[in-house]
């Protein structure tokens, strides 16, 4: 007699996840034995996820993604012997990626800021009270935001992305880059002003 379908479904998924764990362990063991074909499988299986995550989190400076992804895999190879299998290999890799991206933010934002826009302190020229969801089509807005971020000085782009898209508090940011919260807020104000100028310019160009 067949078990009820729900039970069958559960045991099927249990078997599948067990098989996946065994496959991962086997893959890890093969890479540690320096099996080059296993290394190719390792890259092929996980690089898309690592790349997508990296690209997203480094949107203002997407050109850095390739180097970060390579660093992630090299670091993973160095640490693979310590991989316990308590999480999936992909989750473990994403954990490494997260650390590498934090390093990028810290390194890039620790560089002293060049004051090439001294007049823009805290000025926010754009004021539009129309609800945002009525103003914009998400796809076009995303592209427009990406273009504006890409045109900003690196420091500003990363600051804005970290603060608003990644929801980091100014206190966290200040601690990570070794400065004061006040300094982060001042830089953010300048970054917002520059971003909005670019945003408006894009709007004018479209019209």
């Amino acid at each position: 007699m067949e078990p009820p379908s729900g039970v069958a479904g559960q045991s099927q998924s249990g078997v599948e996840s067990l098989a996946a764990v065994c496959d991962e362990r086997e893959l890890v063991a093969s890479v540690l034995r320096k099996d080059r074909k296993a290394a190719a499988r390792f890259v092929a299986a996980h690089i898309d996820a690592v790349y997508a995550y990296t690209r997203h989190r480094l949107t203002p400076r997407a050109e850095l993604a390739d180097d970060v992804v390579q660093d992630v895999f090299l670091a993973a190879l160095n640490g693979l012997a310590a991989f316990q299998g308590q999480s999936s290999l992909r989750a473990w890799l994403i954990g490494i990626t997260r650390h590498k991206i934090e390093d990028v933010y810290r390194q890039r934002l620790r560089v002293p800021e060049a004051r090439d826009d001294a007049g823009a302190d805290g000025e926010e020229p754009y004021s539009d009270d129309t609800p945002l969801d009525e103003q914009i089509d998400a796809g076009r807005a995303r592209e427009r935001a990406r273009r504006a971020l890409a045109q900003l000085p690196e420091r500003y782009g990363l600051m804005l992305w970290w603060r608003y898209w990644e929801h980091r508090s100014t206190r966290d940011m200040a601690a990570a880059i070794g400065t004061t919260e006040k300094s982060v807020e001042r830089t953010l104000a300048r970054a917002r002003a520059r971003f909005k100028e670019l945003w408006l310019r894009e709007e004018r160009d479209v019209r």
Partner: protein, 109 residues
């Protein structure tokens, strides 16, 4: 609307990103870097062993396993001097079609 609120709204409205696949040339570069790093700390798994473990060898790797030369040659990395690696690392959709070649696999779409 305050600057913070405007940006929070913008981030919320534009937060989603389309899934992105890694470029094939990046896959190739990362693979080459991994193999180079593996080689720095000792020989790679011998090609005969690799084949026994189920790895599919390319035509050049296969030829190394049957050459009547020293035993160390099976641990060499022939990809270092292979045109497929060079193309794979530099081009997207590189015209490489060797069965068993990882670079060729990375460029299959």
């Amino acid at each position: 609307m305050s600057g913070d609120r405007w940006f929070e709204g913008l981030a919320q409205a534009t937060g989603g990103v389309a899934p992105t696949r890694a470029p094939a040339r990046l896959k190739s570069k990362v693979y080459s870097a991994l193999i180079a790093q593996m080689g720095e700390s000792g020989s790679l798994l011998d090609l005969t062993e690799t084949k026994k473990a189920g790895g599919r060898l390319c035509v050049f790797e296969n030829s190394l396993t049957i050459l009547p030369v020293g035993t160390d040659i099976g641990a060499m990395n022939p990809c270092r001097i292979c045109h497929a690696r060079v193309l794979g690392e530099r081009m997207e959709h590189a015209p490489i079609f060797w069965p068993g070649c990882p670079y060729s696999e990375f460029h299959k779409r």
